[in-house]
Structure formats: C-alpha cells, structure tokens
Symmetry: C2
Subunit: 208 residues, 2 copies
DNA sequence: GTCTATAGTTAGATAGAC
DNA sequence: GTCTATCTAACTATAGAC
C-alpha cells in the first residue's frame, strides 16, 4: 500500500466513523425505517450525497453499524470468565453489562430495536456466530453446576435474566428515570443497580 | 341514544377494532415512522381513506393503540397482590407476566419500541399515572421488607428485574428462539421460564 | 473526495362522488 | 360509512460538474 493510499484510507476511516456516530443517534431516535439520510448528513456535518459515496444504501450503513456494535461486544467485555468461581465471574459480568448500559446505551438500544422488530438484518448472525458464542457461555455455567458451585439452574434462562435486567437500564431508560423521579441516572444510581442485581442473582443461584 | 345511533356506534367500534389489530402488526414490524397507513389498510382489508375517517392521523392511531395496551395491563393482570405473602404474590406476578409475553407479545413489543426510542408519546403518561401506580407497587414490597418476609432489597430495582426478565421473552423473542435452537417457544418452554425465574428471584430475595 | 441538481418513489392527508 | 382520485411533502439514490 502506497503512502497516498494510506492517507486516502485514513480519510475514509475518519469520515465513516463520523457517519457511524451520526447514524447511531438517528437510528436510535427514529428506528431503521424512520431514519433519514438527510438528517444523518446534517448530524455529521457533511453533504447528503457523501453518505452515498461511503455506503451503498441505508441498509448497508445500518448493517455495518450493527456489525461494529457486535464486534465491540465480542472483543470487549461480553463474556463470562471460565477461570473464575461463579461468584466473581457473575459479579464481574453484571457490573460490566450495567456499566455498558451506562456508557453506551445507544448501542444497546439499536440492537434491541433490531430484535424487537424481528431481527430482519441480524437473523443470519443469530443462527451462526451468536449460537456458537452462546454455547461457550452455557458450558461455563453447566460446569459450575456440575462442580456444585451453584444450584441447578437452566443456563439459558440465567443468561437471559442477566442480559435483560442489565440492558434494561439502557433500553428502557425513559421509564427508569420516570420511576426514580430523576432527570437522569447518576453514578450512584448505577452502583445501586449493580449492587441490587448482584445481590439477588448470586443468592438466587445458590452461590456462596 | 337512539337505536340508529347505537348501531352506528357498533360499526365504529367494530371497524376501529379491526384497524387496531392491523395497526398493531404493522407498528411491531416497521416501528412508528416506518409503519404505513396503506399497509395497515391492506392488512385490515379496507380502503386507505377509511383509516383517516376513523383516526385524525397516524399519531392519533398510534396513541389510541398505546392507550388500549396500557388499559388492558392496568385492569387485567399487571399488579402485585397486597393481600398475599411475597412468595405467592411474586410467583403469581411472574407467571402472569410471562404468560402475557406468550399470549400477547406484540403489545409488549410496541410498548418496548416506544420506550427505546425515547417515549415521545408516552412521556406524559410515565410522569403521571405510571408514577402513581408504581408507588403502590413499591409500597407493597417495602411492607414485606418491614415485616421481615424478605431481604432488604431495593423495590424499584426488584420491579425492573421482574419486568425486564419476563418481557424479554416477548421483546427479544428472535434472539431467544435462536438461542434455544427452535422455530418457536412451546408451552413447556414457557413453563420452564416461569420455573427458572421464580426459583432465582424468590430465593434471591430471601423469601421462604 | 465533495457538491448541486434532479429523477423517481412512496408516503400522509383530503376532496368529493356514491 | 365507503371509495376513487389527487394534492403535497419527504425521502432515497444517482448523474455530473468541480
């Protein structure tokens, strides 16, 4: 790759990142169909036609955005540790999930919206990579049960419980802040969430 | 009200019900902005213009649909029983919520989609009727804690945990069926959900 | 790589005959 | 209460100059 190519590549990368960031807000606010390329361009501070220069069409942009989100999850934090005892592993996992709901709620919301509307784009992913990854998580829980480190619980439903209860604070934030009678959740509020969920789930699984 | 008026009223009621049913599917599939009145009319088997005869505009139709959904919840099942001990009350509540996710997933999904996208229509409801109703639920849990019938848990976060984990099977059904490697969840699957969630949450709250 | 102009499509909403 | 026809607005996508 020549120097000219590299700097072109950098412009591409930088502009695509700006577009992704703008698209994320737009998709969260209006959903896939409701999102308009005009408003994404305005949010990004670039001309409308440039979006079409970088992305084939709206579906292509949305697909790549979803891929980015999933990639961050898979490489970053969304994994139970097989090397730890269940108490530490699950506590760490709950905290990581709650903090992700705090720090990047829009990613969670876009993923949730995609699933709620039937996962038209993520259907293939759910039946391939997701299933493989899930199987590794289930195996970890099963090993804890076999070793008597926790009660016999259905691994799938335990995982769903952790996912839903932690992502709730991103996806349903509008309802949560109304319920807590606040403008927005504070750092302390999120710590209280971690403590509450950890307390109930650890004890509920019979983990000492 | 004359007989003629009554039968007119009945036609209105019947047609509005048909439109609501069609609109529900359309809003679930495409979201608020993506839903088209043309397709709602096609699903309902009536002419496009008739939708505008019964509803002022798309927002009006969506608002009334949301009101219907919330009304069913409030009058039907979505309440902790203050007269029971926590074990029975929470077990009953979890079962009712899971069965509602099974029997009417689209209502749950429309509500979830509205919240995820910032609750533009439900904002007022969340800050009035919802808060009042929630306070009654919180008070019930607090009374159980005071009487020593359960551990000291944060009532709000316990309620969020129950709502999110039970509604998950409606809202995130696409992911759940992929995870369970099924076409659709069976009656037995839903019983397993009730059993798993009840087991973990009851024990997790220190309820005997 | 960026911009303006525009083609082509789809939508919401209304008027007016029946 | 229902239907056809139509107006108006918004949006995606592309062509072509710079």
């Amino acid at each position: 790759m020549t120097k000219a190519n590299m700097s072109e590549g950098n412009i591409r990368q930088k502009n695509k990142a700006i577009i992704f960031s703008a698209a994320k807000k737009e998709f969260v606010t209006y959903g896939f169909k409701g999102a308009s390329i005009k408003r994404i361009a305005e949010r990004a501070g670039i001309a409308r036609a440039n979006i079409h220069y970088y992305f084939k069409d709206k579906t292509d942009l949305y697909q790549q955005l979803l891929s980015n989100i999933i990639e961050v999850w898979n490489t970053d934090y969304d994994t139970l540790s097989a090397d730890q005892a269940p108490k530490e592993a699950i506590s760490t996992y709950i905290r990581a999930k709650v903090m992700h709901s705090k720090n990047d709620p829009d990613s969670s919301r876009i993923f949730a919206s995609e699933l709620i509307h039937g996962a038209p784009i993520l259907h293939d992913y759910l039946n391939t990579d997701f299933k493989t990854w899930l199987q590794s998580q289930v195996a970890i829980i099963e090993s804890w049960v076999e070793k008597g480190q926790m009660d016999k619980v259905n691994p799938h439903h335990l995982l769903f419980l952790i996912w839903s209860s932690t992502q709730h604070y991103a996806d349903f934030n509008a309802q949560v802040v109304a319920a807590l009678d606040k403008e927005a959740m504070s750092d302390d509020d999120f710590e209280e969430v971690v403590a509450s969920l950890t307390q109930i789930i650890i004890k509920g699984c019979g983990i000492k």
